[in-house]
Symmetry: C2
Subunit: 546 residues, 2 copies
């Protein structure tokens, strides 16, 4: 920069003035900071035992200081900053009233607290609460953590898909029914395939048969905490579910209808938008034709477009391609290449890539480092966003625990589960500062053995400190949960305090859109749509439940 | 301030110069801060997907950035900053080797992880590990959270106390043996008292009788997680234990011996110092004489002094007077008055006051506010320090949860349990900044129903972020744990990561003395004594376990 000679004195004056200004500002800031700091500590200076004070506070002064500190604490929670409208405040009171009643009855009368029990013991119970009915009707925004083959209710699968031609079943050596679609069943000596229609005809009644089949498929049993004695036993049963329905749902026409029904059920559960994990390759026809990835992407895309056309108040569904953590590095590299191409071809529908499966014993992200760094080595213009599952574990300081580290280093857009995140203060700070949302699936975490009493869910400290966080449902169909309502219910009753009401739920809904992968334009539109639905909901809920 | 006219220009120059300096310093600090901030974020800028970069990192650069972030994360944990000596490093490797082996075997082979199971399933197992043997020999510093009547092993109680004259027993309607000492037993129709000696004589053998009696007293049963189905059921059994032994241990001569034996057992478990909760009033003689508080204080004090005289490597024991949370406000006010007097009379032995009992259903601290503010209203010169139990709960946002708030406002010296603290970010910040230590009792928390899998213990996030924290054992005798070793073992295997070794254990020992209520002079002495024991231990352990 050149400054002419005449202007130099002026320049010096300006610099000196600026420095003076900065100096003054700093002094002001420092004083202000000290003051604020003093104020923060002031509340706990009520020193009954503080010799230097010479005198104590009376009860009235105490209660004022107490209220100050309590408010400060409460304001840090997720949703605590939202200003509620008059109508919202009425609804808030209804929710808080029931929440307090249920909690206090259990706490003071020393009774079992049903909302924190195993979902299988709490499911029916919760459905009869006013809170559940309100949450069911509440526009919940988006569900951002789901998997293709556990999105549609088992009821519908049994009552619709298994009534179709070419659908076969067999019972494996452990007594589990497998399903598939064949023109001609294979000659399988370990599992004898028969048309479902024949089996159903031999049963005492169709309803009885359907009921038995549904029960056989469901992860839901009377007491899973005893039956699935640990994480691994639960995962074995969970994997079996995917084996039971997987072969059937790889059939392209069946998957189209199954997925269409998923959208229907999420829409009916007042969910406005979906991002889900799944594969695009390998869908096939009954005649044996196997489709490629483009076909798969087009298939899902078409279902979504048709559904949105018929339901203009639904904002759509987008897909994250996923591989499984036990594949070879070569396979994952193939996936990453494919996902990169697919994301380029469908930037507005194929969002990115993820790795799934039981994290604990399977390969950590680091195992696939070369494959996962592939896109950067190609100097591609378009990126491959990652949406990694990470930290779905209790194994602190192990390789699997470090998935959180690698997810961050690989610039993950969101984190699936992140159960272990609170044990990593440095990583948690980064996740917060970068606005990377954690996708929490409370019922899934409970059923797959991470935590039994949901009040101990490891994400609670982060919820209490307004963390970027969304609630989703992972695989609701596998355990016969509604698309999102049951998970929101337990989040409300177990993951948040007795004082956290409608603002907490509203912020979760807002977060679900805020942290979606929608582009800014669509995000605004989605938030606008959601808000108008929200206002309608508040009005109707107040009318119905007051 | 007056400045003479001549000096005014000089003063102005000085002020301007100072402001300029502050300005320059601020600019420097701001730039520096931005730089530090950039550096902190740098590690996660490895943007595989970051379009703006244009190119990615190779695996080598990735691994360097990864190591940087990993170290940053690990350095935040409790004990991570300690520099280990050469010998300590050898011992550290021994500990880390077994820790990793046990964890990885379970994680990768999908086997049950015994150290996190119910203590009743893990107790015997853990005693056979090298880690346990090392921790047993390790000088562990202080145990700061204990209760009088559950400090001495049941074995000793049965084999010693119940062999004495005048000791009676009866079996209540639920099959629990109660113990007491009488000259003449009362005529109790609900529970028929008989001399233990008679009952023993009628048994197949003394050993058999003693074994049955111990089992009957013990909280330890084959599967408490099933038998004690929830927090309340566990507390009922726990309270029963105190009923079983309470009447016996209120006998003054018996308590003297019992307490003397407690010191012996803690000393043998390599604990150097104790602070425990209990009452001083009501100890009585076999003839019915009831002693006052001064007698009680003198009784315990004398036992401690004699024990220290015989064991110069033991630093003593001090007492916190405690009341129970179901008493009337008047009773608690009487306690507070008494404790204030006792603390004045024995400032170096009676440390302060606490309230105990199952927090959930009982009165919160706020209920006793007037009583607890009593000392301040008296303008007493000497203070009454509080050591409140607070946050031993899963009930977020309830009255009981707010005990943490009131403990802080009432200037508590330490917090007993603080299980709920991580759910309160504002309070946790204050606890940290004020150096108020949390007394964590992991086995107690598990057995009393707060958490089943100890890896989910709510304090783990705070341990991972170097919080003021000590490990204690609460009521080890009730569940037949060693004075401190079992709790240190589960802290090591469940509350800390696979990468946290000897530094973690050493810091816990240091913390236990640092956060004790010893005055600075005694604290220095205790740390010195502990350090010489520590160095001896390291040398011997390396020799024995290498």
């Amino acid at each position: 920069m050149h400054i002419s000679k005449e202007k130099r004195p002026l320049a010096i004056v300006i610099i000196v003035a600026l420095l003076l200004l900065v100096g003054l500002a700093s002094v002001f800031l420092i004083l202000n900071f000290s003051y604020a700091h003093t104020d923060a500590l002031h509340a706990v200076e009520i020193a009954v035992t503080n010799k230097s004070r010479g005198r104590g506070y009376n009860a009235e002064e105490y209660m004022m200081a107490r209220q100050r500190l309590l408010s400060k604490e409460q304001r840090r929670a997720l949703g605590a900053w939202l200003q509620l409208s008059e109508k919202e405040s009425v609804l808030n009171e209804i929710l808080l009233h029931e929440k307090k009643e249920i909690m206090e009855k259990s706490r003071l009368d020393r009774l079992t607290y049903t909302p924190a029990l195993s979902f299988f013991k709490s499911k029916e119970w919760m459905e009869n609460t006013t809170t559940f009915k309100i949450i069911r009707k509440m526009p919940k925004g988006a569900a951002l953590h789901l998997h293709t083959t556990a999105m549609t209710s088992l009821d519908w699968l049994v009552k619709n898909i298994t009534y179709r031609e070419h659908v076969y079943t067999c019972v494996d050596k452990d007594g589990f029914a497998l399903l598939s679609a064949f023109l001609h069943p294979p000659n399988d000596t370990e599992c004898q395939w028969k048309p479902v229609s024949e089996e159903r005809a031999e049963a005492p009644s169709s309803d009885k048969f359907d009921e038995e089949l549904r029960k056989n498929l469901s992860f839901l049993i009377p007491d899973p905490l005893t039956a699935y004695s640990g994480t691994n036993q639960a995962w074995d049963r969970f994997n079996k579910y995917f084996k039971q329905v997987g072969s059937l749902l790889i059939n392209a026409p069946i998957m189209q209808d199954y997925f269409r029904q998923a959208l229907q059920e999420f829409w009916e559960d007042n969910v406005q938008y979906i991002e889900w994990r799944g594969g695009v390759r390998g869908y096939k026809e009954i005649n044996g034709t196997v489709h490629d990835a483009v076909y798969g992407a087009e298939m899902f895309k078409k279902v979504v477009e048709e559904f949105v056309a018929q339901h203009p108040d639904f904002m759509g569904a987008k897909m994250i391609i996923s591989g499984v953590r036990y594949r070879s590095e070569q396979t994952i590299e193939d996936h990453v290449k494919l996902a990169t191409l697919m994301h380029r071809q469908y930037p507005n529908f194929i969002l990115g890539y993820d790795l799934v499966g039981q994290e604990d014993p399977l390969n950590p992200l680091l195992f696939y480092l070369d494959a996962l760094l592939y896109p950067t080595r190609q100097s591609l213009d378009d990126a491959l966003p990652y949406f990694f599952h990470a930290g779905e574990t209790k194994w602190e300081g192990t390789d699997v625990d470090e998935n959180l580290l690698d997810a961050l280093l690989l610039n993950t857009t969101r984190i699936g589960h992140g159960y272990a995140l609170a044990k990593h203060p440095e990583l948690a700070d980064l996740v917060r500062s970068r606005g990377i949302a954690v996708e929490v699936n409370p019922i899934s975490n409970q059923l797959l053995g991470l935590v039994s009493d949901l009040r101990n869910h490891a994400i609670v400290p982060l919820l209490a400190d307004d963390f970027p966080l969304v609630i989703s449902s992972d695989d609701p169909a596998a355990w016969e949960a509604l698309p999102l309502t049951h998970d929101f219910f337990v989040a409300f009753m177990d993951l948040s305090g007795q004082d956290m009401g409608l603002g907490f739920l509203k912020q979760l809904a807002i977060n679900s859109l805020k942290y979606s992968a929608l582009d800014n334009y669509d995000k605004e539109a989605a938030l606008g749509l959601w808000e108008s639905k929200w206002n309608k909901f508040v009005k109707e809920a107040v009318a119905e439940f007051s």
